[in-house]
Amino acid sequence: MLYILPYYNFMKRTIILLLLAIYSISIRAQINPCSLSIHGKILEASGGKPIEAATVYIKELQKGDHTNATGEFFIYGVCPGNYTLIIQHLHHDPQIEKIDLQKNIQNKIIYLTCHTDTLHQAIVKGSRLHWEDITVKNKLQGDELFLGSGLSLGKALEKINGLTNLSTGNHISKPAIRGLHSNRVLIMNNELRQEGQQWGNEHAPEIDQYIAKEIEVVKGAQTIQYGSDIIGGLILVNPKSMKLIDKPLAEVNMSAFSNGRALAMSTTLEANIKKYKAISWRLQGTYRFAGNGKTPKYYLKNTGMKELNYSAAVGYHKGNLEAELYHSYFTSDLGIFTGSHIGNLSDLYAAFQRDRPLDSAQFTYAIDLPFQQVQHQLSKAKLKVKIANTGSLKVIYGLQKNLRKEFDNTLATKLPDGSYKPALNFNLVTHNYDFNFEHKALKRFEGSFGVNGFYQVNEYYGAYFIPNYQKFTGGFYWVEKWHKKAFSIEGGLRYDVNQFAIQKWEQNVLLNVKHRYKGFATTLAARYQFPFVTVHINVGSAWRAPFVNELYSFGVHHSAASFEIGDRNLVPERNYNSSITIDFNYQKKTDIEFTLFNNYIHNYINLQPQLPATLTIRGAFPTFAYSQTNANFYGAEFSSSTKLYREIKLHVKTNITIAKNISTNEFLVGIPPARMEGDVDIPILKNSKQQLVWNIGASYIGKQTRANPAMDYVQPPADYFLVHGDLTTHFSLSKFPAQCNIGVNNVLNTNYRDYMNRNRYYANETGRNFYIKFRIVNKS
C-alpha cells in the first residue's frame, strides 16, 4: 500500500483503485443469522448536531456502543428479534426505542432532547465557540494534538488536509490555508484575534501550542463572527474552558528530538478553590529549545531557538454568571540561518549555485547574529451572563502587546561597546472589545449578533520598514441558523469600518496620511444529512483593507534580496468563496471527506516584478511593487480513513490548490504543490490497561509546476518522498494515565528542498529525526 511511486497521476489512480477494492470488500453483505447489525446516528433534537459519547445499548442483550464525534454508533453480531434500545447521554433526556430486527438497520437517526435547564451547557462542548457545525471545521484535539506536539504550532497544524506552512528555516513556520497566509488567515488565540506583526512572511504566530486543548480550522470565507477579513481561513486555538475545571489536575508533556537536539516541556496545573467551588484557576508553562538543525550532509549554521511561555487564568462560574481573567506571555529567540543572509541578487545566485552553504557549522545551542527576539503578551477579561428566557450575553476585553526585534550583523547596528542594537524594532499594542448576544432558540431559529471594536498602535524604532500607525476598526454582525431534521442552513452578515493614520518620513518631511475603508461581508452555508452522506455547501464573501506594508513599504527586504515598493492607492481586496464538501461515513469503517473549492479574489494585492532593477551602492536588487489584480484559487481535497482489517486503519489524504492571476492568465508563485499522504495504524496490543499502536506512513510532495517563472529567482525544487513511522502507547504509571510516542521522521534521510520554505534557495531540509514524546495526567 505504501510503495507510493513518485508519479503523481499513476499513484492517484492506484490509490483510487485500492480504495475501491477495500470498500467493495467491506460493504459485502453478511449472511450469518446472528450477524445482524444496527447502525445509526444520535442527533440533538433542537439543532441536529451530532451527540458524542452517548451510550446506545440493547436492554435485552446488555450489549451496546458509544457514539463517536459524528454521533454514530454501530452494534453488530445481533440475532434477529425484538429489542429495546436505550440511549443515554449526560446532558440529554434518555430515550427508549423499540426495534424489530430482521435485517441490518442502517443509518437510524434518533433525536435526543436537552435537559431543559442545561440547554446551553450541553451545546458548549469544551471551549467551543459555536453550537453547531454547519460549516466544515477540521479539528485537532487529544491524541492528534499530542502526536503533533513538540515543534511549532504551524507544524502541528500540518495534520489537517489543505494546511501547509510558509516557513523560514525549521522553526519559523506560519500556517497557509489553501495557499493563503499572513494577513489573509485569522488566528483566534483564546477568543481574541492574535495581533502580531503577521504581515511579515518570516514572522511566525506567537502562540504556545501547548495551551491548546483543541484547534479548529475553517477554510475559506465561512465565518464572520471574528472579522470581515477572513479571505484564506480561520484558525481557532482554544484552551480548555475554565468552567470545565472541576477537580485538581496536573499534566506534564515532554518531547525530545534528535535533529537539533531539541527538547520541549510543558506543565499545566488546574483546580478549584476548596471552599469556593465556583472559582477555578490554571497555571501553565512551556520551555522549548533546539540547537543547529542538520540536513543529511551538513549542519545549518545558527538555526537554534528557544522559547519560554507561561499563562495564568482564573475563572468564576456559578448559576447564570461566568467570568474569566487570562494572561499569557510568550517569548522566543530564533536564530536566522546565516547562509540565508545575503546582500544582493548576485549573492543570491551565487548561494543558489552552491550545493551546500559556504558557512560550515558544528552543533551548538548558541544563537548568534542574525536573530529575532519576539515577545507577546495577551490579557483577556471575559464575562458571560445568561438571561432567563432571552439568551446569553458575552463581553470580552483583550489587550495584546507584541514586541519584535530583529538583530543583524551590520556596521549600522553595531554600538560602540561592541553590542548590537536591533536593526528592526516594532512595538504593537492592540485593544479588542467584543460584545456578543446569543438569543435563545426561537422555533427553528438560533442565532447571535454582536459588535467588535479594535484599536491598535504600531511604533517602530531603528530602521524603517513599515510606518507608525494608529488603527481603528469597528464592526457588527448577525448570524442565524435554521434547522429542520436533516437540513440546516446558516446565514450571516457583517459591516465593518477600518481606518488608520500613518506617520512616515519622506525626504525629511513627516507625512501623516489617513486611510478609511468600509464594507460588508457575508456567508451562507447549508448542510443536508443523507443516509451515510452529509453534504455541506458554502458561499461567502469577505474583504480585507490593504495593510500598511502593502501601502508604504519602501526598501530592501534582505532575506528576500528584493527591493519592495508599496502603493498608497491600493483599494481593499474582496473574495467570493464557494465550496462543497461531501462526507461519507459508513458504519464506523469508512470515513471519506471530499471537497471542491473556489476562491476568487477581486483586487488581489500581489507583489509584481518591476523593471529595471533598483541600483544601490550594495548592488542591484530585483524590484517588486505591490499592485492589484484579479486572482482565482481553486482546488480539491480528499481524505479518507478506512478499517482494512479489524482495527487496522488506513488514512489517506491528498490535496491540490491552483492559483491563477486572471488578468494575465499566469500562475501565482508561492502556492503549495500537490501533496499526497498515507499511513496505516496497526494495533499491536489492546486491553483495558494498555494499548500499543504502530503507525507507518509516507508522504509525496510534488514539484510545483504551476508557478510563473518570471516571479521567482529560481525554479521550484524537485518533488520528494518521505517515510515516517512511530509507536504510540497508552498505559498507566502509578495509576495515572500516560501516553508515549516514539518515532522517526524522514526515515530514509532523504535530501530535499521544500517549495514553501524560504530557505530553499540556500540549503536542504533537515534529515532523519528520531523523537520521543511523553504525556502524563495526574487525575486525583
Binding site: 451572563v385 550583523n409 556596521l411 460584545f435 518620513w505 513627516l510 544601490t616
Partner: protein
C-alpha cells in the same frame, strides 16, 4: 439586564481611554540612520608622474528614489603603478560621516574584492588586518596596455568568517565602474 449596563459602560470607558487622541509618537527619521552614500577611489601614480585620478559614486538619497548624482568612470594611463585609496562616506550627515573608518575598525570582518576586465590591470591589496589578512582599502593597480571594460568593487561583510575568500559573507558595497586604460 441591570448588571449589564455598567459593564458595557466600563468597557466603553476603557475603549475611549485607549483610543483618545494622544499625539502619535514620531517615528525615527531614516536619514538619521547610517547609510553609505558615496564611494570615492583616489589613484596616485607611485612615481608621481601621471596625474592623480579620482572616481566617485554618489547617491545622496540612498536606496531607490533618485538616480545616483555621480557615477564616474575610472581612466588610468598605461604602464603605470597607482596607489589606490578607497573612502566611504555618509553624506546625509553634516559633516559627512566617514564610514571607511568604521570598516578599518572592523577590518577583521571586512574584505574589498575587485574584478578587473582583463590582465592589463592587476590589483593587489596592500593593507592588512589584525589577523594578517588583507583588507583592500588600500591597493596597488598596475596597468599595462590599452584596454576598456568594467571593474567591479565589492566590500564583503564577513563577520567571524573572514579567510580572504571573496565568496563568503554579504555585500555592503557592490559597484561596477566603467574603466579605460589609455
Amino acid at each position: 439586564m441591570k448588571t449589564i449596563i455598567p459593564i458595557s459602560q466600563v468597557l466603553f470607558f476603557f475603549f475611549f481611554l485607549s483610543s483618545c487622541d494622544k499625539a502619535p509618537t514620531i517615528p525615527p527619521n531614516p536619514n538619521e540612520e547610517e547609510l553609505i552614500t558615496t564611494l570615492q577611489i583616489t589613484f596616485i601614480d607611485s612615481l608621481g608622474i601621471a596625474p592623480n585620478v579620482v572616481a566617485k559614486y554618489q547617491d545622496l538619497d540612498g536606496d531607490g528614489g533618485n538616480a545616483p548624482l555621480l557615477w564616474d568612470s575610472i581612466k588610468l594611463q598605461t604602464n603605470t603603478t597607482y596607489l589606490a585609496n578607497i573612502v566611504l562616506l555618509d553624506e546625509t550627515k553634516m559633516p559627512a560621516d566617514t564610514i571607511s573608518n568604521e570598516v578599518l575598525d572592523e577590518a577583521v570582518d571586512h574584505l574589498f574584492c575587485f574584478e578587473v576586465p582583463d590582465t592589463n590591470c592587476v590589483i593587489t591589496r596592500t593593507d592588512k588586518d589584525l589577523n594578517n589578512l588583507e583588507i583592500g582599502l588600500q591597493s596597488t593597480w598596475k596597468t599595462k596596455n590599452q584596454t576598456s571594460g568594467n571593474v567591479r568593487i565589492l566590500l564583503r561583510h564577513q563577520p567571524g568568517i573572514k579567510t580572504g575568500d571573496c565568496s563568503l559573507g554579504a555585500s555592503d558595497v557592490d559597484l561596477i565602474f566603467g574603466m579605460k586604460i589609455e
